[in-house]
Homo-oligomer: 281 residues x 2
């Protein structure tokens, strides 16, 4: 069994936020993630909520800036924040912020030079959960939810739709909704998956929802002042697909908010309550 | 009148967080600060609460990591986070993290090379409030409070004790309590003020409280796992002085918490409530 090496730990809202490193045989590199364990975990297993970050981010953005601990401590949820890609000097990279390290897009790359290391969907759904199950005894792996931001909001929706038995709840802040149809996605999918093909559809939330609606109510918040709203996020594409194909969706456009963690922090309480209701109800 | 140049603005918890640059004739450099204006400010003047950061920090640490906006929005307080020193390539500096830029100690330096620029107490109490009064119409300058962290927690206590008519409420996270008696303070005061003398006492909270008790209840939170507790903070010195000299003090030692913003965020709600009660009661 792969070991976890503790990098840091802090007490926060009565619980503990820990950062760990571990060797990832799947990704071929050392990976770092953070886990917040709420005070309720001292008394028995609690649900697990995964948070997938956006382009350029690590575990730190959400744990430092979203205020999630306050709400996780109130509702009694473990929060896990993985990194957004494989990392390391030997891991293929690109100078652009939206490709390579920090931009894994939660998929399994088939193209060179990415195919060896870039398997973030498998990392999130298989390798890291096994480590959590083995090392965090208070994690109730039968009650898991998933959410995220931007690239990670899209990742959360796709992993939820493809693994509905695993992730019983889903929400997103400012998600990309159809990478096949926007510049960020077209660039990354071309690099990781090759020219446009049916292979792209399995990683596109709007395509997936046509085939694999979930029973869950998906909650999404996006700000009207988000500078990526009209070019990269395009919520109307996903809203239409959900309406047409019978996916329950609570899509909220928030007047005046941006793409940042001040926006995320403002509505974090509602997202945590959404997951707590589904995972503890 | 000096002009403010807006650097950034974000909507947050119904209010607006803005970052501004301005020329500081007093400090001889360009200064940057942040101000959070809560939603209540749309309906009339609201109290102003100043937050002084610790060593190495800027406006960003508290605005990004403390979760203050949630509580300021609930209670209706403007929050202002200044920088911790003068800044710029032409401003004297030191390679150490605890002297020079990022380490202004909220005092007026008398020694070279610091004397020209390092006047952070005057900046906080005079120059910046005048800019706020002129540029933030919803700021009720007749109702101001002050708090801070570490070096800034100490700064908040000293500026409160010396300006009781200005700052009607005071609190601190993990403050230095007597810089005359700890390595951080001895190093900085020697550099900024020269060898130990009576000049040091006017900037030492424990010395000040012997002469200038305030009518306010000073609230302080410090974590027992704070790695600076026994070497730099030494709360027992200040607690004894307050007991002896009749300063009302609510000093809370928090089991297991550190010197970090996870600790600050955990107890931010209580500090904001403390100030709101004093400023709005």
């Amino acid at each position: 069994m792969t070991q976890l090496t503790q990098v840091s730990a802090w007490k926060s809202f009565g619980g503990t936020l820990s950062v760990y490193d571990h060797e990832s045989p799947l990704l071929g590199c050392t990976m770092r993630f953070a886990v917040y364990v709420p005070p309720q975990a001292a008394h028995g297993p609690v649900p697990v909520l995964w948070y997938l970050s956006g382009l350029t981010c690590t575990w730190a953005n959400m744990m430092e800036k979203s205020g999630v601990q306050e709400h996780a401590a109130r509702h009694g949820l473990i929060i896990i924040a993985p990194d957004t890609s494989p990392r390391g000097e030997h891991v293929p990279n690109d100078d652009a912020y939206d490709l390579g390290q920090g931009a894994g897009f939660y998929l399994t790359a088939t193209q060179e030079p990415w195919a060896k290391n870039y398997k973030m969907d498998q990392y999130i759904t298989d390798e890291l959960p096994a480590l959590i199950a083995a090392n965090v005894p208070s994690a109730d792996m039968s009650r898991q939810g998933i959410f995220g931001h931007s690239m990670g909001g899209h990742g959360a929706i796709t992993l939820h739709l493809k693994n509905q038995g695993t992730y019983k709840s889903c929400s997103a802040f400012s998600p990309i909704t159809s990478p096949c149809r926007v510049p960020w996605g077209e660039k990354a999918f071309t690099a990781y998956l090759g020219p446009l093909s049916v292979a792209w559809e399995q990683y596109d939330a709007t395509e997936l929802v046509k085939e694999r609606q979930s029973k869950a109510l998906i909650l999404i918040d996006t700000g009207t002042a988000d500078s990526f709203l009209e070019t990269q996020l395009k919520p109307e594409i996903f809203i239409k697909a959900c309406e047409k194909d019978g996916q329950r969706l609570d899509y909220r456009l928030r007047e005046g908010y941006g793409h940042d963690y001040y926006f995320i922090a403002t509505f974090m309480d509602e997202h945590i309550a959404h997951h707590a209701k589904a995972l503890k109800g």
